[in-house]
């Protein structure tokens, strides 16, 4: 494969590769980080990576925003071509996912505050120690 073949391949796929990298960062933080809040940040990075993947699936080159244009100019809307507008379906699904993610993030933060009230730490190893003492 020559150099001329590689560049179009990179342009066509680099987006997905970088989402995978982002997802790996989030997953690593969820598994390996010791602090509970860091784990939550990892969870959010993971979430946004997946949302980014969905949104980029809906992207069409050469298309515009999914808002119908020139609707007030008579009956121009008879000729709406699907190829002119970006796929709106992933946007809808992900829009609600973002708002739900902030709500769950709030609940997670409330849990973290509650854990800190009782054990005075958010580090996982110290929490394990406290729990095994009892």
């Amino acid at each position: 494969m020559g150099m001329t073949d590689i560049i179009p391949l990179i342009v066509a796929k680099y987006n997905y590769w970088l989402f995978v990298v982002l997802m790996m960062i989030g997953l690593y933080a969820m598994i390996a980080k010791n602090n509970l809040i860091k784990k939550l940040v990892g969870m959010n990075i993971f979430q946004t990576a997946i949302i980014l993947f969905y949104v980029s699936i809906g992207y069409k080159s050469g298309a515009t925003l999914p808002i119908i244009q020139n609707v007030h100019e008579g009956h121009g809307h008879a000729a709406i071509h699907a190829a002119d507008y970006i796929n709106p379906l992933p946007h809808v699904l992900m829009l609600t996912a973002i708002v739900v993610s902030v709500a769950t993030f709030g609940v997670a933060m409330a849990l973290a505050v509650k854990i800190y009230q009782r054990y005075h730490t958010l580090e996982e190893d110290e929490l394990r120690m406290r729990l095994s003492e009892k």
């Binding site: 342009v11 790996m24 690593y28 050469g62 809307h77 507008y85 379906l89 708002v99 709030g106």
Partner: protein
């Protein structure tokens, strides 16, 4: 643990990278995701609903059930925060500041509360003198932010925006009030009970609009049944969507304020950022 985690992450990432080889090219108009259902939405959404923003049309009409339960999830998140953190016990220690002299009184174990009036004010444990610039700027900004939030909700049919975004912006204006002044000022202006009722009422508005359609002879969430309630039957679906978006906005704004107040004051609703 770290090494093990790294190995797992590399394995998963490698598999996913391998999987991307089968994906359609980025921005390909003929990718499977963009050829079946979404074409129907794009071509028919405007003539069926009279809403130019297709995202809003799908969100509130075609996928109305989905959005209804998302709103219920957000309401549940607010409820969960309340149940986890809310603490109704009175705090034993209190701090007062004598306004003319600046002397701070620390009251321990007193059943009797000092009367807060012109001479004394109630302050937090880690109180710092409030900044005039921040207070003034926020006092000017907050009404504009709230008007903007209302605009975002009302104009969601024609431009980016809608109930979720407008609700979050309205909720963050309340949070800004709490940050720039004092948590007590927010809690005094908007009672906890009012916030709770708003959160529930928002979900109820959504479900109510959806349920009214049934006695009118159409199915649940079919806004065309509401024709006799609106002045402009041609735009009945757009107006139905506006109604549910308002419900979503009320619920989201109230829930954001509830979550913030409960986290920052550890459920005591007396002092915070």
């Amino acid at each position: 643990m770290k090494f093990f985690g790294f190995v797992v992450v590399c394995l998963v990432g490698g598999l996913l990278l391998y999987g991307t080889a089968d994906f359609p090219d980025w921005g390909d108009p003929d990718s499977p995701a963009s050829t079946h259902l979404s074409d129907i939405y794009i071509e028919h959404a405007f003539e069926q609903t009279q809403v130019p923003n297709i995202v809003t049309a799908i969100l509130a009409d075609y996928r109305g059930f989905d959005t209804m339960f998302e709103t219920a999830v957000i309401f549940c998140a607010g409820l969960a925060c309340f149940l986890l953190l809310r603490d109704f016990k009175e705090r034993k220690e209190r701090f007062y500041r004598h306004v003319p002299t600046g002397v701070i009184l620390h009251v321990k174990n007193s059943k009797k509360a000092l009367r807060v009036g012109r001479d004394f004010e109630h302050i937090d444990k880690d109180w710092i003198p409030s900044d005039l610039i921040i207070k003034t700027v926020c006092r000017i900004l907050i009404p504009f932010i709230q008007i903007y939030a209302l605009y975002v909700v009302a104009h969601g049919d024609f431009s980016p925006g809608g109930g979720f975004q407008g609700g979050v912006i309205f909720g963050s204006s309340l949070i800004l009030l709490a940050i720039s002044y004092d948590l007590k000022i927010l809690v005094r202006r908007i009672k906890e009970k009012v916030l709770g009722i708003c959160a529930a009422a928002g979900v109820l508005v959504y479900v109510g609009i959806a349920a009214i359609c049934m006695p009118m002879g159409k199915s649940f969430l079919d806004y065309s049944a509401l024709e006799m309630f609106v002045f402009d039957p041609h735009h009945v679906r757009a107006l139905g969507m506006l109604g549910v978006e308002i419900g979503v906005g009320i619920a989201v704004a109230a829930v954001m304020a509830i979550i913030y107040i409960n986290i920052v004051s550890e459920g005591r609703h007396d002092e915070g950022l």
